[in-house]
């Protein structure tokens, strides 16, 4: 497979996963805002913090406002990571690799594009319309995954697509945990209150983890939730489960299951082992934020290593100009 094409497929899916995550974050936060007691301030800033685009938000909008945050994360063309731009980029990437994907997958990504394009063109959307939109985005992305799963051969392209999706997913889970965890622990007097419970539940729902967490742990506790979202090996959105899945992709792509045969495998293997032998109590004792911050940095390193190991065409271009 062409290096450029592999890179494009990887990003096609990263953007799709990002759009789906954003839609879920917003929908859950919306839901949460409905259940808050009247005197409680709505928490919209953490949403922007999660995405890592706080600086851009501050430069565009004077203060944190529900409607501005929603616009910024959903339709804002100035925000390279808004749902609008994520879907646009995913589709441009899909167009560039149209020959690698099936008609089913392409038509569904294309349909998502028309969904965001047409919705973005409408003025003054009601809450109901917006929530409907978030649901449509979530379902639309899931439909792409489903069609991908059902119609694409497990060839190189499949594994690069999968890599893009799970690296993005691990990153978003770590970010949502980081932002929410801090927020929740800032108010020790609320521990155990009904507000506290609603917010923990919302955190789990942001990553579609509520039902599976309940099944495994029953009681909502901060350490239990952190453990579930970082170290669980069975839940598909936990960070370790994502890394395990990425490892399998890299083994297939590299053809070696012992040790490593390229930088991507090496970086990922080290990070995965670190999580495999981690204990949630140690993580909490050492500082959750520091831990997650470090982890996000290492995920970025893995992504760069994938680029250098498989996609980069720089060395060839150099030999080309020398000849």
């Amino acid at each position: 497979m062409l290096g450029r094409v592999a890179n494009t497929i990887y990003w096609m899916n990263r953007y799709l996963e990002r759009a789906e995550n954003y839609a879920r974050f917003m929908d859950v936060n919306y839901n949460l805002s409905l259940e808050l007691p009247p005197n409680e301030v709505e928490q919209w800033q953490p949403l922007v913090l999660i995405t890592g685009d706080w600086e851009l938000y501050e430069s565009l909008y004077p203060k944190v406002e529900k409607s501005k945050v929603i616009y910024f994360l959903t339709f804002d063309k100035e925000n390279p990571n808004s749902i609008f731009n994520c879907i646009l980029n995913s589709r441009e990437n899909a167009r560039a690799v149209r020959a690698e994907i099936t008609k089913e997958v392409w038509e569904q990504i294309n349909a998502l594009y028309y969904l965001v394009k047409n919705t973005a063109a409408k003025k003054n959307q009601t809450n109901k319309e917006l929530r409907r939109f978030f649901t449509d985005i979530k379902n639309g992305c899931q439909l792409v995954y489903g069609m991908y799963y059902a119609t694409i051969s497990r060839n190189e392209g499949w594994h690069f697509a999968k890599l893009g999706q799970i690296i993005e997913r691990a990153d978003k889970t770590s970010r949502v945990l980081d932002a929410k965890y801090h927020l929740l622990l800032k108010s020790p007097k609320l521990v155990g209150s009904s507000l506290d419970l609603i917010q923990w539940a919302a955190l789990l729902k942001s990553v579609s983890a509520f039902d599976m967490y309940r099944k495994k742990y029953g009681k909502l506790t901060s350490s239990g939730i952190a453990e579930f979202l970082i170290l669980d090996t069975e839940f598909p959105r936990s960070i370790l489960a994502c890394l395990l899945s990425a490892e399998r992709c890299l083994i297939t792509l590299s053809g070696s299951s012992v040790g490593f045969s390229n930088l991507a495998q090496k970086k990922l293997g080290v990070l995965k082992s670190q999580l495999e032998y981690a204990d949630i109590n140690d993580i909490i004792a050492e500082g959750m934020h520091e831990y997650l911050d470090d982890l996000q940095g290492k995920l970025n390193d893995v992504s760069s290593a994938i680029y250098n190991s498989f996609f980069s065409i720089e060395p060839y271009i150099q030999t080309q100009s020398q000849s």
């Binding site: 290096g3 441009e92 167009r95 149209r98 020959a99 271009i317």
Partner: protein, 486 residues
Amino acid sequence: MYDTSFTLMPKLDFSAYDTKGFYDEMFDENNVIRPNYKLFAERLQNFSQKKLNTLQHATDRAQLSLGMTFNVYSDNQGIERILHLDIIPRIISSNEWTELEKGLQQRIKALNLFIQDIYNDQKVIKDKIIPKEMIFSSASYLKELEGFKPPKDIWCHITGSDLIKGGDGQYYVLEDNLRCPSGVSYMLENREILKRTFPELFEQLDVKPVYNYTHTLRDTLESLVDIDKPTVVVMTPGIYNSAYFEHSYLAQQMGAELVEGRDLVVKNDMVYMITTNGLQRVDVIYRRVDDDFIDPEVFNKKSLLGTPGLFRAYLKGNVVLVNAPGTGVVDDKAVYAYIPRIIKYYLGEDMILPNVKTYICDEADDCKYVIENIHNLVVKQTDASGGYGMLIGPKSTKKEQQEFIAKIKAKPRNYIAQPMINLSRVPTIADNTIEGRHVDLRPYALYGDDIKIIPGALTRVALEKGSIVVNSSQGGGSKDTWVLNS
């Protein structure tokens, strides 16, 4: 909800349909339905105008969904347009098609011999069939190819000639398009869309299928090298090219890799693509990048679309380029005027499919005639296409005519003129009614072991009333083209 079209809606009414002054493909001069449209017309009786409008609307949506769009501006926020597909097909009888097929085969065979000759022995020049200045002054003539013979001596593997039918009911070849003819994906997808929107009409109408085009294309490309399972790729300028949909469509349908110039590298005069596992040798390139841009080492130095060294690899015979570079010399509108003589010269046969009468401004008598009769003629720039650089005499102002006369006098070699042909018309949906609109016809030919004409075509239609400009860049649409089996 139930479909009311059969009971309450008025039936289609063709009584006001106007065929005066033009050849209409569906009705003869007495407003009687022609035999090739007979069964279709009977079935169409079951549709109301409203139902047709609904179906028409559904095809627009289908095209958007398939991504059959082209960018109007070259950035990703630009406007994407579809090539409007009118749902009333153009229907061609079996006999008419057989003649057309023979004519195209004859023409392509002769033109291929001509190209081989002008880059090699130049007998056609020595025998004074065509003046040598005509060839060497063509912007598309590539002196780098002198003495070169492509694999299997085939230059124009893929052709999409533009044909028109005049008021006399006769087909004429307007342009040969031997470079990178586009539009074949529309021929294929239009058929798929029409089958979906009009299933009732298709049944038992005995329309020749077009679906095997991409199989034949792949076979043609593979037949050019003596390698078992050669690596065939489609080369595109990228996603911002207006024909990108077609490039990706053909690659996907053929199961070929879709590459850009930057995906290829030339080492030791061989072409490789850069893959996730290193370099992989490429054998055949169906390139949709123009001659001028394929190799910055030889042609346009600023081209970022090509691959340095590609042309060198080609001349060494290490890769096949399809179509061969240098074929554009036939597309020169001045060379076109000599084609009847070229066919006679190489094949000893009279031309089956006639040319449109062409005045060569570079020849003194013709030039004088053109200037005196410019108001009746269509004047064309010899190296332009897409409906640009032309003057339609009867529809132009005195000022425009004077401007063109000045241009012709300055550079007569760059202009030809042709009489105005009344393009034939096909009934077309227009604002809640059906009216005749002018059409042309672009059938596709593949030249491998033999010359195959695919039984179908892209029919381009000028959507604006009275217009004869069918180019997609200037408000043209398309129609599915049905070739009947009997």
